[in-house]
Symmetry: C2
Subunit: 465 residues, 2 copies
């Protein structure tokens, strides 16, 4: 390549960032410190060993279970090793749902396929069928609106929600968002018309044999009915069968809600040197579903948030503001931890400048979504996007969108919310399944996420909002 | 968020691309067609089923083996199903290296660890030790320069190259590029001073038990000596042992070079309607190493290139220029296919406008590197970067850098070369190993890569260079 062209490139693209009129020594130092953050995460991160313990030694950490309690204790101990200014547990009462015995879902006496078992998981919060199970004719629908149209004709039936995720959505979270009403609200809607149970196509873009659990919500207006997810391959099978005949399905699950349990958000902080009253939160949720190991959802977000504090300490960074890692309890089936945290913050009159949540898996970082109080959001968003020259070399950008479920209750307090956005392609292969295990997590991708979160925390601390 | 701010965002970011003064109906149609390309790949791609066959039914496809021949036949048959204008095989003689019996590498009688087997693979093209194996003292070095400094003192020794990949390189190909001279040239350099064998730390950022093979080259100035890779965990172990004592290592491998074999590049094309003499190549390499299944390296690049043609046909796109898919033979240990293709193109006086190679794995797309004749590169690069508004919504950018080994012999013919650049974080977990299998490939990521290559082919065809 011609040297002249290289020079043009340099002057046109690189120089304005680090040299030239707009650049200062301070900016060069910032770029250098951001590089140090990434170097530290790629050489000394503890995120993967911590995640390995959470996944292999503890496993799935559903709220109210002994595993969730073990995860609270383990992460508290690990935060205690980091030389933070404070580590504490914030009590919160959580629901305790129990899956019960392995689920049975069976097409009964089909002319086409005979009797055949389907791969199924009860949806979180679902009631059980009772020990005898239940058998009923199945009606396939594609939407809640379909259910409203079919109305009373669904009495005594099992409603089968089978609208797939849209595979043409580049961002799989958009595809998920376009389908998940079936899982979250499908049981309540069908129950309104007298349906006796629901089956829901698993929330994934893949066609495979892995059922995906996840929360469902009942309505006070209708009785709870059993709700189960079936794998996408089995949803396709059931749909094909239904094209040619009416079939009955047998369902048996023994899921039930137990008494609430005392649990905790796990919190550690580095106290700010000059503005300790301005708090920057970085967090994920420590609970997971009971199947699998909750590796990407959301062990990854927890260990990344812990790693933010570890690396700031390792780099001898003294923050002006208070940097707080919060591992929220009960995101999956209640959001009790996120709500309790925000309530407590309000009661204590704490000022939360910003909160960053990582709850989209431990994949290669792409940037952050941002959300906040409309009164200040424009100005603040413009400010953070001025930091892009420091972040773009790491493949990062900002977009406008929700920050995350656990930190969302802080929004009314004027907190700027950031959602860490990694590459989304693989997330819904694993989400809420038995295969969300440590093997699905790449150590470098996980660590790059931690570094990315640390970089934003550093800039928020240095410049405020 | 305030509506006003949304409007500002729209006017500032989105509108200039698709509306406003610079935008035209043609540009809107282009954006629409690029979207159709992605939709097609995300709904009807054959890339993954094809890759599944290459990986599970055929497996590792080292040049000269029956598996390589089966891959030629299979991909030819699949191209024949696409309704192309021509499908043909381009003969090329290839080396045929044989790994022989499972390798043995053993630390012998260490005071610290006793005798212990290390996980090892002969490097490609390596000679064998003979059936008795060989035992010699080991000397650890970090570079070819170290070897030059140690000089004649290495006579009769086994040289152990142990400089790790730099984990702080964000792009793992940069880390690989900074270490791979040890594998490629280490044996020749050590042999110059009378060393009897070399061990090379595997080319990966991970610490694990998986040895990575890959080509080594001998020099006419020194006798060939056996060269093997050991896993990074075992390299760390051997290095620790060597800190406290001199140890001998036993090596036994029966690798050897056999007679050359006739093989083929597999080629299919859609003939251009108005400019058939201007050829746009899209390709990968059909051979792989013998261990594993050559899934990411480079089955992925092959099936993506085939998918480019399939999807253009499925979308009823009639190219102006000739679009040619080339599956190159023998990239791994000879580059005979790439060289033969370019020689033939020159002999036939074909004009290759551009060539795109996919040989960095089937991961989420990030963009393309570009390279070409210095006399025209500036102008052409400026032209392709004008297409960025169409590609940036898919997370893509252009950078300056090599296009790929197989297409590099076309550069002197004035061809613009593009390397497809996917996310690099996981590639060297699998590269040249027994774990480069179909399970390591995500179907959506693979298909997004195919769509990305198709989009560039479309723009090159529409606008030329």
């Amino acid at each position: 390549m011609e040297k002249k062209f290289l020079l043009i490139l340099f002057l046109g693209i690189i120089a304005p960032v680090f040299l030239g009129a707009q650049s200062t020594k301070a900016e060069e130092e910032e770029a250098f410190f951001v590089k140090k953050i990434y170097d530290e995460a790629l050489t000394h991160s503890q995120a993967y060993p911590w995640l390995n313990h959470l996944c292999r030694r503890i496993g799935g950490r559903l709220s109210g279970t002994p595993q969730a309690a073990a995860a609270v204790e383990y992460t508290r101990q690990m935060l205690d090793t980091l030389g933070l200014d404070s580590v504490w547990l914030q009590p919160v009462m959580v629901p305790h749902w129990d899956r019960g015995e392995p689920e049975q879902v069976r097409i009964v006496n089909s002319r086409q396929v005979g009797s055949i078992d389907l791969k199924a998981l009860s949806l979180g919060n679902s009631i059980g069928t009772g020990p005898q199970g239940l058998t009923a004719p199945v009606v396939e629908v594609k939407s809640l609106d379909d259910v409203d149209r079919l109305g009373e004709s669904l009495a005594g039936k099992i409603v089968f929600y089978n609208r797939p995720l849209d595979p043409t959505q580049l961002n799989t979270f958009s595809a998920y968002g376009g389908a998940v009403d079936q899982r979250g609200a499908g049981a309540a809607r069908a129950a309104k018309y007298g349906a006796v149970g629901v089956l829901v196509r698993s929330m994934t873009t893949r066609n495979d044999d892995v059922p995906h659990t996840g929360g469902t919500s009942y309505s006070p207006d209708a009785p709870p009915i059993p709700a189960l997810a079936i794998s996408t391959n089995d949803a396709n099978l059931l749909s094909r069968v239904l094209q040619n005949e009416t079939v009955e399905v047998f369902i048996r699950n023994t899921s039930r809600m137990l008494a609430e349990e005392l649990s905790y958000n796990v919190i550690g902080e580095i106290r700010g040197s000059t503005k300790p009253g301005e708090i920057i939160v970085v967090g994920g949720h420590l609970d997971s579903w009971d199947v699998g190991q909750g590796a990407h959802d959301d062990g990854a977000g927890c260990v990344q948030s812990m790693e933010v504090l570890r690396s700031l300490k390792a780099l001898n960074y003294r923050p002006q503001r208070t940097i707080r890692c919060v591992l929220f309890m009960n995101e999956e089936n209640g959001l009790r931890g996120g709500r309790a945290y925000a309530q407590n913050a309000a009661a204590q009159k704490e000022k939360h400048l910003a909160a960053i949540e990582s709850d989209r898996g431990g994949f290669t970082p792409r940037g952050f979504s941002a959300d906040g109080d409309p009164a200040t959001f424009e100005k603040r968003y413009r400010k953070v996007t001025q930091w892009l020259p420091l972040l773009e070399p790491y493949g990062l950008s900002f977009s406008i969108g929700g920050g995350g479920a656990d930190i969302s209750p802080l929004k009314p307090q004027g907190t700027m919310l950031f959602g860490f956005i990694p590459d989304s392609q693989r997330y819904f292969d694993y989400h809420h399944t038995a295969i969300d295990t440590i093997e699905a997590v790449n150590e470098r991708e996980l660590n790059l996420g931690a570094a990315t979160m640390t970089a934003l925390v550093y800039l928020l601390d240095k410049y405020g909002l």
